[in-house]
Amino acid sequence: MQCRDVEEVLEQDGLAPLPEAARMHVARCPHCQGYLADLETIVSTAYELPAEVEPPSRVWTSLLARLESEGIIKESAAPARVAPASWWDGFGQLLRSRALATVTVGAVIAAAALLQLRQPSEKALPPVPPGIQVTLEQLNQQEGLVRNMHLAGASPVDVALEQNLQQIDDFIADCEGHLKAEPQDELAREYLYSAYQQKAELLAAMMDRGRSVN
């Protein structure tokens, strides 16, 4: 067994007890020992993180001022968001900016991957963690807005984008259905997360386009 084989085992099975061959390789490989130690540190740190972070109001106020100063959000819309009920409440507004949408969804994917790391490999994985579920619902709300925005335009590009969005939605539904039946299918989960990210990027691009054309 070689270093990359050990990495593949870790990718596939996480830190569950390693197979005999992998253990023997790690015992005589300083590189893999360091790699394993790093992974254990990451996972133990992840366990110490709270499930959902509620930032103090000053953080939100500061963030709001920064977003306004950069022109990412409009001042008139501010009062409704000064004291959000939770960290995720601003997500819908944030999605209006393409860059922030991408960053936010990137964070969602990272969080999903982190939560996945926290699951012992022999147990069934939950469909979607609660915090992520809220975010995905907001993603769907944005989809409604985008679809309404694009109903006005029937250019070939609008039509093509609508079709692409429908393709992603169908694919997501397919993956989600499959994962309900086979929750441990890592490949399907990887495709699902990738489709979420593509959907967020597509929605952001459609919003940008809607604004520039209209």
Partner: protein, 288 residues
């Protein structure tokens, strides 16, 4: 040169500005002299073709043609960077009114950042990093080299005799990689197909993923690579089983019954090839 040339059509023409005479012409041609390796940035919100070819000359030549006066072209040079932007001047313009085409001639070593919504992006014989983005338009590359990033939503990629590193990401677009000399390939599409027909460079890394489409690889007898092909609910059609040494690393045993796919080695296993599909088909062929 640091000069900015704004070629305003439509509204400017109606106002009788100094550019009015240019606005009346459906064709604009500009030449920008450059010193080193130029960077060309095109932001084309209109519907049309962007064609880039190279020449030995140390200049960037831009020829823009359009169907109507409802598009504004802005062309600006800042040192060795050339910016070309097409903007819609009239939001009520029909798709036909928004048809434009840009034809560029650039030095052989040029970096490109091209962005359009629809219409073909065609690049030929250019060496340099390039980022090419399109919603629905296709991207055709011929004899280009560098770090090539192609991003589309529905448009497909055809890459012929490309070299260097290639990243392709699309929702519905397909990718055809023909006679490549690429050392690093990362292709990802949700519903499109992928065809890789060419050699795997030794020590190269090749990753090809399609959610629902066909992933087809045609390798040659001179190749040397490790292969991993995996699917969630699709099929793996291995038509080269006679040539692939099965699972020389014993990896598949670790995956047990969960694993759907195959591992194999051809030659000394110097390159690494990973193919996957969620529900499509992976086809592995050896060329004659």
């Amino acid at each position: 040169m640091g000069r900015s040339i704004t070629l305003a059509f439509g509204a400017a023409a109606l106002l009788g500005s100094s550019t009015a005479s240019m606005a009346a012409s459906p064709r604009i041609e500009r030449h920008f002299v450059v010193n080193g390796r130029p960077v060309v940035v095109i932001q084309n919100v209109a519907n049309g073709r962007i064609e880039v070819k190279s020449s030995k000359s140390q200049e960037v030549a831009v020829i823009a043609t359009q169907n109507s006066s409802k598009i504004n072209f802005e062309m600006e040079q800042a040192g060795d960077r050339i910016d070309v932007t097409a903007n819609v001047a009239d939001a009520s313009a029909s798709p036909l009114d928004l048809e434009t085409s840009l034809q560029l001639t650039v030095p052989e070593e040029t970096e490109l950042q091209l962005k359009t919504e629809n219409g073909l992006i065609y690049v030929e014989q250019v060496m340099g990093d390039m980022t090419l983005e399109s919603f629905a338009g296709e991207v055709h590359l011929k004899e280009v080299s560098g770090y090539i990033i192609v991003k589309t939503t529905g448009g497909s990629l055809v890459c012929t005799q490309c070299a260097g590193k290639l990243d392709f990401n699309s929702v519905g677009g397909s990718a055809q990689i023909l006679q490549p000399a690429l050392t690093n390939v990362n292709l990802r599409t949700t519903t499109g197909n992928i065809l890789f027909d060419g050699d795997f460079i030794r020590t190269g890394l090749y990753s090809m993923k399609s959610g629902k489409g066909l992933v087809e690889v045609r390798f040659s007898g001179n190749d040397s690579f490790d292969l991993k092909a995996q699917t969630a609910t699709g099929t793996v059609d291995n038509q080269a089983a006679a040539f692939l040494k099965p699972d020389s690393h014993g990896t598949v045993r670790r995956f047990g019954s969960k694993f759907r796919g195959l591992f194999g080695t051809f030659g000394a296993g110097l390159a690494k090839v990973e193919l996957s599909t969620y529900s499509g088909t992976i086809r592995i062929l050896k060329r004659d």
